[in-house]
């Protein structure tokens, strides 16, 4: 997994519910600790990353969460307004379009436009020469991207628009963004998975789609929530054949241990399958038993990730 934080853009996707947001935040902390000016960018109209740090999100504004660590939540409406302003080089002209009801209906419904302007803003954040007035560049931008299918569509949106428009300003801009996203030197795609059947399948499928649709490849896979190996096969046998007449509470304890053993074993077999079929390096993060995930937990995960980044 070494080197992904040396890219300008790290695109974190994977099956829903695998922990993309937390992994993105943890990656952000790793990069910030390395002294990189780091942006962690959400694209789902939520402010979950600031919340992990006990902060209120500021939406479409770049806010500092910790030393060298910044966050933003990109929503399509703001991204579109800004994009129009850049394109037209005039806030007043952009206002003509943004204030027009028919235009806003068309823009809201035009398939792929929300994805295009969102990834366009992400691209802008990752440029050394920012278009946003008085904005400083970031060393690395980490995107907490949508789940696999929608994530790939977002990555592919500039190519779609480049091909649809062929010539003209939209095509030129889209082509530039696509070239950046399709370059493994500038953009790393990271998949977050769980050691379960469907997430592993989806990760393998993602690798194929990235290749076919973008000419890109997965640069790292993070398998989240891996159970600790608490019990060996011999332990499990000893537990299963425990003599005596245990109370209900003790029996629940034995059952929980056997269940943990079976789950951990099933996870290991899924991990083996993933490792043998995926080309990208696979790292794991431990299952967290803490009831709520906050800054301390993200910090702990970032230390785990860091060990694997060296």
């Amino acid at each position: 997994m070494s080197g992904i934080l040396d890219k300008r853009l790290v695109f974190v996707t994977g099956k829903g519910g695998t922990g993309k947001t937390i992994v993105s935040a943890a990656l952000g902390l790793v990069a910030a600790r390395q002294g990189k000016r780091t942006m962690v960018c959400e694209v789902a109209e939520q402010n979950r990353i600031p919340a992990l740090f006990g902060r209120e999100g500021a939406g479409f504004t770049e806010v500092e969460l910790a030393e060298s660590l910044y966050a933003i939540s990109v929503d399509p409406e703001h991204a579109r307004e800004e994009w129009l302003k850049f394109q037209l080089r005039s806030g007043a002209l952009a206002g003509v379009l943004n204030g027009n009801r028919i235009f806003s209906y068309l823009a809201a419904a035009a398939p792929g436009l929300a994805e295009l302007v969102t990834i366009g803003k992400v691209w802008e954040l990752a440029q050394l020469e920012r278009k946003t007035a008085k904005a400083s560049p970031y060393d690395v931008v980490i995107v907490d991207a949508p789940a696999t299918g929608h994530g790939v569509a977002m990555l592919g949106a500039p190519k779609t628009f480049r091909d649809a428009a062929r010539v003209g300003p939209v095509a030129n801009q889209a082509a530039k963004i696509h070239t950046f996203l399709a370059s493994p030197r500038q953009t790393a795609v990271v998949a977050v998975a769980l050691a379960e059947d469907m997430p592993v399948n989806e990760t393998l499928d993602l690798a194929g789609r990235l290749h076919d649709e973008m000419g890109q490849h997965l640069q790292a896979i993070v398998v989240n929530a891996v159970y600790p190996e608490r019990f060996s096969g011999a332990d499990a046998e000893a537990i299963a054949s425990a003599d005596g007449r245990p109370s209900q509470a003790a029996r629940d304890g034995l059952d929980a241990a056997l269940s943990e053993h079976r789950r951990a074993k099933a996870q290991r077999s899924q991990l083996r399958r993933l490792r043998s079929e995926a080309e990208a390096p696979v790292s794991t993060l431990p299952f967290l038993f803490e009831p709520e995930i906050g800054r301390d937990e993200v910090e702990a995960l970032s230390r785990e990730l860091e060990r694997r980044l060296v």
């Binding site: 099956k15 829903g16 519910g17 789902a44 394109q87 037209l88 002209l93 003509v96 379009l97 027009n100 028919i102 209906y105 068309l106 809201a108 419904a109 398939p111 792929g112 436009l113 994805e115 789940a147 299918g149 929608h150 569509a153 949106a157 779609t160 091909d163 649809a164 428009a165 062929r166 003209g168 300003p169 939209v170 095509a171 469907m198 399948n201 989806e202 499928d205 608490r230 019990f231 332990d235 425990a242 003599d243 005596g244 245990p246 109370s247 509470a249 003790a250 029996r251 304890g253 034995l254 929980a256 241990a257 269940s259 943990e260 079976r262 789950r263 038993f289 803490e290 009831p291 709520e292």
Partner: protein, 358 residues
């Protein structure tokens, strides 16, 4: 208040399973469909997620854009499944609405159309609703179960018909079609200005292509719009119900509550919340640590006790989330499904999940 899916769906024709990503929507949809088929209904489950595993779990090599019968022991009932192919559905829709072959070919051959109907994001939601409506009209099934698209914003599909209506709104069409690009006809001054600014953004060529698209699409607009209206009505109909699938984690509960409130605002019929992957609370017992240490020896006993405490914490967290959800939903029906040891990947697993749903 606990509930059974069988009771909730007794008089329903459409069941929409919604919720945020990774909570088990697809599996729940399949288990609901199987359970209702086992109760004698002819059921079809529609999925959008191209996860092959759902197909496999239903005993099918893969799912396509055609209805496939699932070989399951369902007595008099039947279980069918289908994976929606947004592009194919879009094409079919154009074919059925086109007034003549010329219009059909013009739209299907339009470059803008080809690109946007291929770019899956955004069009999935339209197409899911569209297919649902079509199957309902045909009336060949007792129950349609829809697994909604895995978008993070789980509400996108609710707005899909409205967005489509606005997209093909006559005013939008006029915008592009009244006299064409180069102002043969006189625009109202406002529209003219908007149009000329738009041209600076898109360039002349792209705007010409977009205009061509709308001109060829124009004749089909009323059909599309009317249909989108009927889809909205269908979702709000008393024969429809929504199952809100969630997991007992704080962020998933927040999303579930948000979604529930949105359903209510939109006047959509809420059925129940399915709380998936609940960790079961182990029995209480003082001295359980000493007891397992006695049973297994101090070293292994300590590890078993530590493991028990970890899972107890998870179960307690789940109980807290559940009561939080219950309170915030205002005593709506809830169905709890325990965290299964194996991820579900066959009919047997679906049936096992069904034991908790029904």
């Amino acid at each position: 208040m606990s509930a059974s899916v069988a009771d909730l769906l007794a008089n329903k024709q459409i069941c929409v399973c919604a919720g945020s990503g990774g909570v088990g929507k697809t599996t729940t949809s399949a288990a609901v469909a199987l359970g209702m088929a086992q109760r004698g209904k002819k059921v079809i489950v529609l999925t959008i997620d191209p996860a092959k595993r759902l197909a496999n779990s239903l005993g099918l090599p893969e799912l396509g854009n055609e209805e496939s019968r699932v070989e399951a022991d369902t007595g008099d009932g039947e279980l069918w499944a289908m994976m929606l192919d947004a592009k194919r559905t879009f094409d079919d829709l154009v074919e059925s609405h086109a007034p003549d072959a010329e219009t059909r070919d013009a739209v299907l051959g339009n470059r803008i159309y080809k690109e946007i109907s291929n770019a899956v994001a955004g069009s999935q939601e339209y197409m899911a609703m569209e297919k649902l409506h079509e199957l309902h009209e045909e009336g060949r099934y007792d129950l349609l179960v829809l697994d909604t698209p895995p978008t993070r914003n789980a509400l996108d599909f609710l707005d899909a018909p409205k967005r489509l209506s606005r997209f093909v709104d006559s005013r939008s069409l006029q915008f592009f079609t009244s006299g064409g690009l180069f102002g043969v006809k006189i625009f109202s001054r406002g529209t003219g200005l908007v149009f000329s600014v738009l041209k600076r953004v898109t360039g002349v060529d792209l705007l010409q292509d977009i205009s061509d698209f709308f001109q060829s699409f124009g004749d089909m607009a009323p059909g599309f719009r009317e249909r989108a209206g009927r889809v909205t009505e269908l979702l709000a109909d008393s024969r429809t119900t929504f199952l809100l699938v969630t997991s007992p984690r704080a962020d998933a509960v927040d999303e579930a509550v948000f979604f529930h409130d949105r359903l209510r605002e939109a006047g959509m019929p809420f059925g129940a919340a399915v709380v998936n992957r609940m960790h079961e609370l182990p029995a209480d017992g003082d001295g359980v640590h000493e007891e397992v240490e006695e049973l297994l020896g101090p070293e292994l006993g300590r590890r078993v006790a530590g493991n028990l405490e970890d899972f107890r914490r998870l179960a307690e967290r789940d109980q807290l989330s559940l009561s939080d959800l219950r309170q915030r939903l205002g005593r709506k029906p809830m169905i709890e499904v325990p965290d299964m040891e194996d991820d579900i990947h066959d009919l047997e697993g679906l049936a096992k999940m069904g034991e908790y749903l029904f």
